[in-house]
């Protein structure tokens, strides 16, 4: 694995999605897809920008693969419009689209060698023979498969097949590369390594990548923006940090990472602060920013486990957000410890602590009374 390129230009914030002037590269307008009675994709509108690494994330059956297949041209939208680089794709068959796809099963041609697999796309375009040879060589170098060029797919390991599939889909220099669960068949270590390789290749080639995955860590690692999908709809499309720290709904908060959610009722709502009572937590949540809900409204409070500080003594300042309970369960992961704390209301919350010092025994143990505190900005207030 090579280190991620960090030239000064890359450090500049690149966010065309927040620039109203920017021209989207791929445009989905009110796209729906119906299979019989089943609405697989429900009226999705999305803009994807040039050179973006975009992830479609959701549970199985949420319509993410159908959306990807519509971009590739294998499915026709029931209604709506798909534009790639300003061209309406409605009547363009898959073999004429400037788009290539990497399949979940890799779909390598079993009767061809690695070299022939990669050359296949170029041969269809009648690229001159010596140019094919050169570009195939380039691709083999990019994915580090040079010595295996003459092997057939069944003579390769899973990781090598995955790289052949990637090389084959990149060799035509498509305007957009679609990746359907590209790392699903690899084991955990190899998957993590390959995620970074994918990012490097994407940055080197500058091709727009759209990846479908159900693995939220994978989506967060590789992509510029994530569209979290549920039941054929995009619930939130934003950067990994926004999706994690500022989810727009309970669905997103719960889908991405672990979270503790409390139902609350707004008791105070000002321009720069709010107070929300949560009976389950037996606590009044103090928020240091204004919220869009009025007094008496019901809201949900999402608190990430790592945002809470766990301690055995109550905070001295009574205005600090704090809940208290009894340690019910401890999970020791080496780098982290996970505490399941049962509150007096009977609700269990999860708290994570980084193990900063080396100890043979944790200072907090089962059935200890503990106090969980957090900063006023740590909670996400959700309306739905």
């Amino acid at each position: 694995m090579t280190a991620r390129a960090t030239e000064p230009t890359k450090k500049k914030k690149w966010a065309p999605w927040s620039d109203p002037e920017a021209e989207p590269f791929i445009r989905l307008v009110d796209v729906s897809k119906r299979f019989g009675d089943f609405l697989a994709v429900d009226n999705i509108s999305l803009d994807i920008y040039r050179s973006e690494f975009f992830a479609l994330l959701g549970p199985s059956g949420c319509g993410k693969t159908t959306l990807l297949r519509m971009l590739a041209g294998f499915e026709k939208p029931t209604s709506g419009r798909i534009e790639i680089d300003g061209v309406d794709m409605a009547d363009v068959p898959p073999y004429e689209r400037p788009v290539n796809m990497m399949f979940q099963s890799y779909a390598l041609f079993p009767h061809m060698t690695v070299e022939q697999n990669i050359a296949f796309g170029l041969r269809q375009d009648r690229v001159p023979r010596d140019e094919i040879a050169r570009r195939v060589r380039e691709m083999l170098d990019l994915v580090q498969l040079g010595p295996l060029a003459k092997r057939k797919p069944h003579q390769l390991s899973g990781g090598q097949r995955q790289r052949v599939a990637l090389a084959r889909s990149l060799v035509k220099r498509p305007k957009m590369l679609l990746l359907d669960e590209p790392l699903g068949a690899l084991d955990k270590k190899l998957r993590e390594k390959t995620q970074f390789e994918l990012v490097n290749i994407q940055e080197e080639t500058g091709i727009t990548f759209v990846i479908v995955t159900h693995d939220q860590e994978e989506a967060m690692t590789v992509s510029c923006r994530i569209a979290v999908m549920n039941q054929g709809r995009v619930v939130q499309a934003a950067t990994p940090t926004e999706v994690y720290e500022f989810p727009n709904s309970r669905y997103v908060a719960e889908f991405i990472g672990d979270v503790n959610i409390f139902e609350g009722r707004v008791t105070e709502s000002g321009a720069d602060h709010a107070v929300i009572g949560a009976p389950e937590a037996d606590c009044r949540f103090r928020i240091d920013h204004g919220i869009s809900a009025n007094v008496e409204a019901t809201v949900w409070l999402a608190l990430r486990p790592e945002k809470m500080v766990i301690g055995k003594t109550p905070p001295e300042d009574p205005t600090v957000n704090c809940i208290s309970g009894v340690v019910w369960d401890i999970g020791y992961l080496g780098n982290l410890s996970i505490f399941h704390v049962r509150l007096d209301s009977g609700k269990t919350v999860t708290s994570i602590r980084t193990n900063r010092s080396r100890e043979t025994e944790l200072d907090i143990t089962w059935e200890d009374r503990v106090y969980l505190t957090w900063a006023p900005g740590a909670v996400a207030v959700l309306m739905t």
């Binding site: 294998f74 290539n100 399949f103 979940q104 269809q124």
Partner: protein, 273 residues
């Protein structure tokens, strides 16, 4: 209980094999008999093989059979593949159940009925019966076998391989010929061989649909047997048994080698990890 060679096992094995192969062994032995009488041994001789090659009736029959088998199995391969493709790929069209039932029907239809119905058709059409009509009849029932073989291969075919070809710029027609056909080639070969064997072996349908001047080898043998079994027939049969044995031996050697190759490939894949 049956893991060891007990006297009971050995006896069962001996009886089983004797039951299967004794008739064939006797046939082979008597094909080398000096005597004209089939059941009386009078010394070793290969004269019946020599006279066999002088017997124009048998040689003509063999040649006719081979031609019919070759043409009908090739036609059956084309039509059967198309039918199998339709059955495997178009899972929803009006009358699919009827179509799939009708494709499979010749597999279970008594040969006499197939033969008779073919005869009636050719009579009604007023076609001259001969090699052509036998070929058509054989194509008809052999394509059902090909369709079933091809369909079952295509059901397990990973369609994303074809989609990958489309995605890389190959038209649907090109994808079919460059990707799909080479991958399902083993099933096509199996289907062709099956059709070829069925056609070689067929007596009933050929008898119904043949005309003057078109006599296949099985028909020839059958008519000769009615006049009494001659050592020549034993000789012909021995040659057929020989061909089949060689074929089976080659197939199993190839299979064994393919299996060894696969194991070697898997080792290679693991070693290069």
């Amino acid at each position: 209980m049956f893991n060891r060679l007990t006297p009971f096992n050995v006896t069962a094995l001996a009886f089983g094999y004797a039951f299967l192969y004794l008739p064939i062994v006797i046939l082979v032995i008597f094909s080398f008999n000096e005597s004209r009488l089939v059941t009386v041994w009078a010394g070793f001789s290969t004269k019946w093989y020599v006279s066999l090659f002088d017997n124009t009736k048998i040689m003509d029959g063999a040649w006719t059979t081979l031609r019919i088998a070759f043409i009908s199995s090739t036609l059956a391969l084309v039509f059967g593949t198309l039918a199998g493709l339709a059955l495997a790929r178009f899972t929803q069209f009006r009358g699919r159940t009827l179509f799939s039932g009708m494709v499979a029907a010749p597999l279970v239809m008594p040969e006499v009925i197939t033969g008779l119905s073919m005869l009636l058709l050719f009579v009604a059409l007023d076609w001259t019966r001969g090699i052509g009509t036998i070929t058509i009849a054989h194509t008809t029932f052999a394509m059902a076998y090909v369709a079933v073989v091809v369909q079952s291969r295509l059901v397990t075919f990973d369609r994303s391989i074809e989609e990958a070809a489309l995605d890389l710029g190959a038209t649907p027609a090109k994808t079919f010929f460059v990707i799909t056909l080479p991958i399902i080639a083993p099933a096509l070969v199996a289907g062709w061989l099956l059709s070829f064997t069925l056609s070689l072996d067929d007596l009933v349908i050929a008898s119904f649909t043949s005309g003057p001047g078109a006599t296949t080898l099985p028909m020839e043998i059958y008519s000769m047997v009615r006049l009494g079994v001659t050592p020549e027939i034993n000789a012909v049969s021995t040659i057929l048994v020989g061909i089949v044995t060689v074929g089976v031996l080659i197939a199993s050697v190839l299979q064994k080698r393919a299996a060894l190759q696969r194991i070697a490939d898997e080792r290679l894949a693991q070693a290069s990890e």
